[in-house]
Assembly symmetry: C2
């Protein structure tokens, strides 16, 4: 069974209203969906309205009126009623396998057959999440990067238990709210983007631990080189261009020969107490004096500007022959 | 002895005019320096004028006239004459230790005492480069990220053989041409940025090898998430904000507990023939149909736009208490 969610702006249920849930709510509303929120927070209405005011300036494109968005918002504390007659459920409950397994078993009972059941989990696979369901075929991971209303990527992860049409429908749904879904070709622990991030963080902590740079200097290195590079072309195209007109083949023939040796020399830090203290102290020194809200607002403002700049400078993107 | 190169726009010698050398020449000229180029290329004058036309649109800030830049250019095929009466030498010869050791021994003879002798090497340390010099105290690595006229970072690397004042003067010189120098607190093989890049590339190749994503999909993941994130805030500030108002301390207390386990699960691919074939085939499919010049021009256009967007959106950067 396929689920056509892109053709009309129907109703989406969002379960859980932490920072990820609130980002999704803002984004789905901004793209014309009616959003029904199911949350255990007592002051949920205030929380959402605050989030809409805080998050709408970060949305891509023209500025939006939070009040317009709120017009399509419904609060429904009862799970059964929350997921009745919706095309899509996006759940954002805590990263706890028991909680999520229970939730999906209940969703299966209350949602219509064919409803897309999407999880924002960053750590769990669909087959595990659906272990208590009779039919987990429409349970798909849709893992956003934080904040979900700003960063384009959504990793769409199916499993051996998944209906391929449901995987496609999930990707289509995320495209309908302006996201860049990438469907993983097979499930893997921690998915792709967080594995890449973890690999870079491991070497970052090694360099700080070895006294080569401080936390603040490490950040300056990345925002001054790899960040702007990878905001525009990915690692493979980067290396392909690094090889000059001969491309990646040429690059691997010259500098690339040292690649494998370089990997062997990368750090394998241990997160012992001394290392944690060092990293935390330097982080406090670098950023501790500035309020969270101020840093987060700056991050969102800059990320929105970067994404808009790439889109605008890329008005004539070159065709791509592969996928 | 200190070398004050920022106070006046003096004369800089650039040795070697491959793609890195040409980027430096463009940048130094654009910032008002007289640039004396020493190169073995027979058609060097044509090569430089072509590069000035190609590279000036990528320079940060207002548009420049390549002809204005060329007015401060001198070609000097004789090394002795090329480095006489210059404040700074930036060498960009091939990554060959013998060649560079010979070069620095000759530079020591011909350049005035106190001349900053800077190397663009991405792999060698000052103590090794200066092994044939009597006094290598002013030999400092100034490693740019490609392309040097676009990407802000320069890694400034001294060694046990270096005069700390020469290290400071090198950083000051790079600041005088609009770069973001980061001085490494101690020398380390491959420096910092390429180690970070290598760590991420290792996991990228693992994910392609395992069939989780294709080369093109891996690039989409990075340009859709980590790139825009790290173009604005570095890895540590990113994690600090990921912890919410509790900061990195909070993040390490929740998601961070899985960090060390995650590192153990990262891939350790072997660059055997099958892996290289897979990566090269998918790279050809993704980018092989588009001319190098077109891809490189797009990369430079987008990177310039990204850097300008960050600078412009960051008109009121928060103060930083640490360095």
């Amino acid at each position: 069974m396929t689920t056509d969610v892109g053709a009309e702006r129907g109703r989406v249920a969002v379960i859980g209203a932490g920072s990820i849930g609130l980002g999704w709510i803002t984004l789905f509303l901004a793209h014309g969906y009616r959003v029904r929120v199911n949350s255990t927070r007592s002051n949920i209405e205030t929380v959402i309205h605050d989030a809409l005011r805080l998050f709408t300036p970060g949305l891509p494109g023209a500025s939006r009126d939070p009040a317009d968005l709120a017009g399509r918002l419904e609060i429904e504390p009862d799970l059964e009623r929350a997921v009745a007659d919706v095309a899509v459920v996006q759940e954002n409950t805590p990263e706890n396998l028991e909680i999520k397994q229970d939730l999906f078993a209940r969703l299966e009972k209350h949602a219509a057959a064919g409803t897309l059941l999407l999880s924002s989990t960053s750590t769990m696979l669909p087959a595990d999440l659906g272990a208590r369901m009779d039919n987990p075929s429409h349970l798909i991971v849709g893992h956003p990067f934080n904040p979900p209303h700003v960063i384009p990527l959504v990793e769409v992860v199916g499993d051996t238990t998944s209906d391929p049409d449901a995987v496609s429908a999930a990707a289509e749904f995320y495209r309908s709210v302006g996201k860049t879904p990438v469907v993983l070709r097979r499930p893997i622990a921690a998915f792709a983007a967080n594995r890449l991030q973890s690999a870079l963080l491991q070497e970052s902590i090694h360099l700080v631990r070895e006294g080569v740079v401080t936390v603040a200097e490490l950040d300056d290195i990345v925002t001054g080189s790899l960040g702007p590079r990878w905001a525009t072309v990915g690692p493979f195209q980067s290396f392909h261009l690094g090889g000059g007109p001969g491309g990646l083949r040429n690059w691997l023939g010259t500098l690339g020969s040292g690649l494998q040796q370089g990997w062997a020399a990368l750090g394998r830090p241990v997160l012992d107490e001394d290392t944690l203290d060092l990293v935390l102290d330097q982080t406090d020194q670098a950023f501790g004096g500035i309020a969270y809200e101020e840093l987060a607002a700056r991050r969102d403002r800059l990320q929105k500007a970067v994404l808009a700049a790439v889109a605008s400078a890329d008005d004539a993107p070159p065709p791509r022959s592969g996928s």
